[in-house]
């Protein structure tokens, strides 16, 4: 009599029948789940953890695969890892890339460091979070006038640069206090929304080595000048690669400002597990209609990308509408926020 499923070469992953059933129901390939139990036994918690991060975080899966499985000829390499991700998400069909060098000269650079972190974060965010983008234009003519006047007066002092970003951070903080859903996180495992009563705003910084998001803490109790000074300091440290890790952690909302580099509009990717991100386009003078007249105004295009699991379109419209109002009148911004 033969004993199916009982061979050692290619022996099955040690896991209890109930765990195997769970994995089957969740569409998880057990051969790819790192087992934390004795002898590499896979527990139900391991399956859940893999589903949460493993399928997306394929690199760590590879390194964590127990040696005996690899030794048994089930080495988790290349295409197998792709299969892992594909098996976790129905219809996701990941195939190995073709050999591009057959078409022409190529240069291959391993995915390392910041680039790899960015890749993981973005894939997680885009696959896990149902993104919705809400767009609006803020008329910042008056704000810019006020800002440039203040800047001229304070130039050279710390925080004297008074960038537009620091005003936007201020305005966003006010908006978040009024609309807590955008300063939250959704925990899909506990099925809870965590509303944060603190306001730590991250801003995307281009460092030359890749994207870094320094975080300004407690923006609800900081003046625009303090915020402006921190932006200067942290952006400089980030560019030098000296920004401490804690200054990149704990963010509750992120702003990405590609405006100075140009661009009429952008759809940013949420910095998971935050709920929303604001993209700032380039401030441009544009002809707009005011009271039936065509006038030239300074227009800041804004896009709020948000997690539709937590907030709805109407919430976003209100949130962005309020932001646009605050940015259009420096008095409002300074008075109400």
């Amino acid at each position: 009599m033969t004993q199916p499923n009982s061979t050692v070469s290619g022996r099955p992953v040690p896991a209890a029948p109930a765990t195997r059933r769970l994995a089957r129901e969740l569409g998880v390939d057990l051969t790819l789940v790192p087992g934390t139990g004795p002898g590499g036994r896979v527990t139900p918690a391991d399956v859940q953890a893999f589903l949460a991060g493993g399928a997306l975080n394929v690199q760590s899966v590879q390194s964590a695969t127990p040696a005996p499985i690899a030794a048994a000829g089930l080495a988790v390499e290349g295409t197998t890892r792709l299969a892992a991700a594909a098996s976790a998400i129905p219809f996701l069909d990941l195939e190995p890339l073709p050999d591009f060098s057959l078409q022409g000269p190529v240069e291959v650079e391993p995915l390392r460091s910041i680039r790899r972190k960015v890749a993981r974060k973005m894939v997680t965010s885009m696959i896990l979070v149902p993104h919705v983008a809400h767009m609006d234009d803020a008329d910042v003519t008056e704000l810019e006038e006020f800002r440039l006047k203040m800047k001229a007066r304070r130039d050279g002092e710390p925080g004297g640069k008074l960038t537009l970003l620091s005003f936007v951070i201020r305005a966003i903080t006010a908006g978040l206090r009024a609309a807590p859903a955008f300063n939250a996180s959704l925990d899909p495992f506990r099925e809870e929304i965590v509303y944060k009563k603190y306001y730590n705003i991250g801003f995307a910084a281009d460092t030359g080595k890749g994207l870094v998001v320094p975080v300004i803490r407690g923006t609800d109790v900081k003046s625009i000048r303090e915020i402006s000074r921190e932006i200067e300091e942290k952006a400089a440290l980030a560019r030098e690669g000296k920004l401490p890790l804690e200054d990149m952690q704990g963010g509750t909302f992120t702003i990405t400002n590609v405006g100075p580099l140009g661009g009429t509009a952008l759809i940013p990717t949420i910095n998971y597990p935050e709920v929303a991100i604001l993209g700032m386009g380039r401030v441009q003078e544009k002809p707009v209609v005011r009271d039936g007249q065509i006038v030239i105004r300074k227009i800041l295009p804004l896009t709020l990308a948000f997690d539709h699991r937590v907030a709805d379109g109407a919430d976003a419209a209100r949130f962005v509408g309020e932001l646009v109002r605050n940015l259009s009148d420096p008095n409002l911004l300074l008075l109400d926020t």
Binding site: M1, Q3, N5, S6, S9, A16, P17, E25, G39, R41
Partner: protein
């Protein structure tokens, strides 16, 4: 119950009511499916219940009782005037079978599962013709038609016994030749030896129970040889001729052919799936050259709405394997995500002593070139085995050297059939040696032997002394 001619439509039809088919039908009914069972025999239960596991075990029990009584003299118990009334024993066995078969019928009826009597043949991929009239159109079907005994090649007298004939206990022959040294031949050979026949066993292969590990088989053979007249391995039956109400049998061994006379000959040379005459040619169901239906992990055939379970599909022809597949197929039909992904299908041989094993065997490990750690514990070192006077036997645990994961368990000894369940659980759970050694096993019982074998494998045993 539905009898006679009918043309009907049903969600799911199950062909066969053995331990695969009836379990599938019951599960399907519980999952809210409209189910019909087609059974060609008069009673439900299949080979296992009607002419296999169940009657043979009730016979074996009686023989073991009588053997125990005979062996009790050394304990100071002498029984005089013991005799076996084989007619009474037959009635007892028939009663056991009737009760269980009636139970299956009741279970089916209580769930509203109709039983149609007759042989079913596929007319096409969505309907069956029932012999004697009627057709059944179905959305899904489970083929659970089981297996039949292999026959000796044509030209050899067919009046020899099959295992089903032997189980009928019509007579106790003076001498019996069992052709086939597998588990069926050995179990029934021992029954007749116990009833008083002079029993010889002839096996084509060099060893009895070819699938099992040698160390287990050797212990059993040493014991059963005392009750058998002869065990001829590496021997081929060349001819069986009826003579004087018995048979002259020519047996070739090492190039020499000898003729012996036996009152009866029992042929137990395996089984083949019942897939020949059920109209599979009218479907796209794939069958291999041995008659086995090809299925996937959910027990689906090449036609996704037709399932095949039990002896007609790959794997050992065992009732418990069929039952598990029956559940998998039923749940798959109900849309559950299921798979027959079992790692340990226990194999049990009800000889005296019994043999059982599950998971990896040493034979298989050797074939695969896999290194395993083997912990063996002899029953002679176990208190309970001493107390019951059965010290012939051993329990062994095969584990993976790097991880201590338990890969296989083998047992020979009293109640091996019961003890193997813990081994199957250990393998299915992905247990390690420590899981067995650190579980308290009741003392004094035979179950301690598995724990002790794991201790041997782990190198922590205290009840044996290993010279270093």
């Amino acid at each position: 119950m539905v009898m006679g001619s009918l043309n009907t439509e049903v969600e799911v039809v199950v062909i066969g009511s053995g331990p695969g088919g009836y379990v599938a039908a019951l599960r399907l009914a519980d999952l809210g499916k409209e189910v019909m069972v087609v059974e060609e025999r008069e009673r439900p239960g299949g080979v296992c219940l009607l002419e296999g596991c169940i009657p043979s075990k009730s016979l074996i029990n009686a023989i073991e009782l009588s053997e125990a009584a005979k062996g009790a003299a050394r304990l100071g118990l002498t029984f005089t005037g013991m005799k076996i009334d084989h007619v009474k024993l037959r009635e007892w066995t028939d009663g056991v079978v009737a009760q269980l078969s009636g139970g299956v019928k009741t279970l089916l009826q209580k769930r509203g599962v109709d039983i149609v009597h007759g042989r079913a043949r596929f007319q096409d991929s969505h309907s069956l013709a029932i012999e004697g009239g009627g057709t059944i159109a179905f959305k899904q079907c489970i083929i659970a038609t089981g297996s039949s005994l292999n026959r000796l090649p044509a030209g050899i007298d067919q009046s020899v016994w099959s295992s089903a004939d032997a189980l009928k206990l019509q007579e106790v022959p003076g001498s019996l030749l069992v052709v086939g040294g597998g588990y069926i031949g050995l179990e029934l050979g021992l029954v007749y030896a116990g009833l008083g026949s002079e029993v010889s066993v002839v096996e084509f292969f060099p060893r009895l129970l070819m699938g099992a590990d040698h160390d287990l088989v050797d212990v059993m053979v040493k014991q059963v040889s005392k009750r058998l007249h002869a065990v001829m391995t590496d021997s081929k039956v060349k001819g069986i001729e009826p003579r004087d109400g018995g048979f002259d049998v020519e047996i070739e061994h090492e190039g020499k052919t000898e003729k012996q006379h036996y009152d009866r000959v029992l042929v137990a040379i395996g089984r083949r799936p019942n897939t020949d005459d059920i109209g599979l040619e009218h479907t796209k169901v794939k069958v291999d050259d041995k008659g086995v239906i090809e299925t996937d992990g959910e027990c689906r055939t090449a036609e996704p709405h037709i399932y095949a379970i039990g002896d007609v599909s790959h794997g050992p022809m065992l009732a418990h394997k069929a039952s598990r597949e029956g559940k998998v197929a039923a749940e798959s039909i109900a849309g559950h995500k299921v798979e027959f992904d079992n790692r340990a299908i226990p194999a049990v041989v009800f000889t005296d002593p019994e043999i059982s094993w599950c998971g990896l065997t040493e034979r298989r490990a050797e074939e695969l070139g896999v290194t395993v750690n083997v912990g063996r514990f002899p029953l002679s070192a176990l208190g309970r085995a001493r107390a019951i006077g059965h010290t012939e036997g051993l329990v062994k645990v095969l584990s993976e050297p790097e991880t201590d994961l338990i890969l296989g368990v083998g047992i020979v000894g009293p109640h091996a059939s019961e003890l193997i369940a813990e081994g199957a659980l250990a393998i299915e759970m992905g247990a390690t040696l420590a899981d067995l050694t650190e579980t308290i096993h009741p003392h004094p019982t035979l179950s301690e032997a598995l724990m002790e074998a794991a201790e041997m494998a782990a190198g922590t045993a205290v009840h044996v002394f290993k010279r270093s």
